[in-house]
């Protein structure tokens, strides 16, 4: 299996339920599942067009689900899709995702929605409507935009 250059590993109390949710809500496909034999998942890969998120749990030690942290989390995942953003949001909502921001056009040229999965991990989805230069983005957003540090 080809491994993408950078991918997140996300912790869930119920990793198998999470994998099922990612399939139902976002159309990802579980392509690798390493069971711990006790209901937990040592390692797994949920794929979408060659990209993967890894899912593991239940967490121990210094790892936690947002469920353990009153919804707080130390990361999120952004997924850029080529088309069909609004339909994807509808599918996610029907599968039980909590939509935090409905699909809306952004001043930087993307249409974006954000949602929470059942354990409170945050996902954002974007579709490029218009490719903008840094100068154009600076104009439309009123921010300072740099392309290097």
């Amino acid at each position: 299996m080809d491994v993408p250059p950078i991918s997140p590993l996300i912790f869930y109390r119920d990793p198998k339920a999470a994998l099922a949710f990612l399939e139902r809500a976002f159309g990802f496909e579980t392509r690798l599942l390493v069971d711990d034999g006790q209901g937990g998942v040592i390692h797994s890969e949920s794929a979408f067009e060659g990209h993967v998120v890894m899912v593991s749990g239940p967490p121990s030690g210094k790892w936690a689900s947002p469920l353990d942290l009153d919804g707080k989390r130390t990361g999120s995942v952004h997924v850029q899709v080529p088309a069909g953003l609004d339909a994807l949001c509808g599918r996610a909502r029907a599968a039980g995702a909590r939509i935090e921001r409905e699909p809306a056009d952004q001043p930087y040229g993307d249409r974006v929605f954000t949602c929470l999965d059942p354990e409170g991990h945050s996902w954002s989805f974007g579709q490029t409507l218009q490719v903008m230069s840094a100068d154009e983005m600076a104009k439309t957003t009123g921010r300072v935009i740099q392309e290097k540090l």
């Binding site: 250059p5 950078i6 912790f11 942290l69 990361g75 080529p82 740099q146 540090l149």
Partner: protein, 154 residues
Amino acid sequence: MPSFTPVVFYRDPMAALKWLERAFGFETSLLVTDDKGRVGHAEMSFGDGHIGVGEEWGAAELIGPAKMRSPASLDNVGTQFTRVALEDGIDQHCARAEAAGARITQRPADQFYGARVYRALDPEGHVWCFDQKISDLSLADMEKASGLTMKTSL
């Protein structure tokens, strides 16, 4: 082209960008700041991969309000980590990271699944896991080496 971008949150995202460039060789590709110089959003690239960097309280713009935290604000607890594939030079990469102040929690070592792996903590406690492929193994090979059962669907 669809892509997955893990986003990580920091108390001091500007310091984090500088550190991630120095320690891991990531490159800042987009930096959005307001008129006070605060980071609204940033993106870094490394080879064909991307990460997002945000401020723990100020990340509302892209992601939504109030629940984003640096591990430094959660007693070093984390809800996700980032895995980065290296083409080669993993031992040198680890040495560079350590010289820049990364805490190496797992030294480079060969794993049963055909990769050499090291793990590092950045200054705010995010975990980074770097791996480099060392051999092509089938799932059957990995099962044999580990005693684990590996499935290719849910």
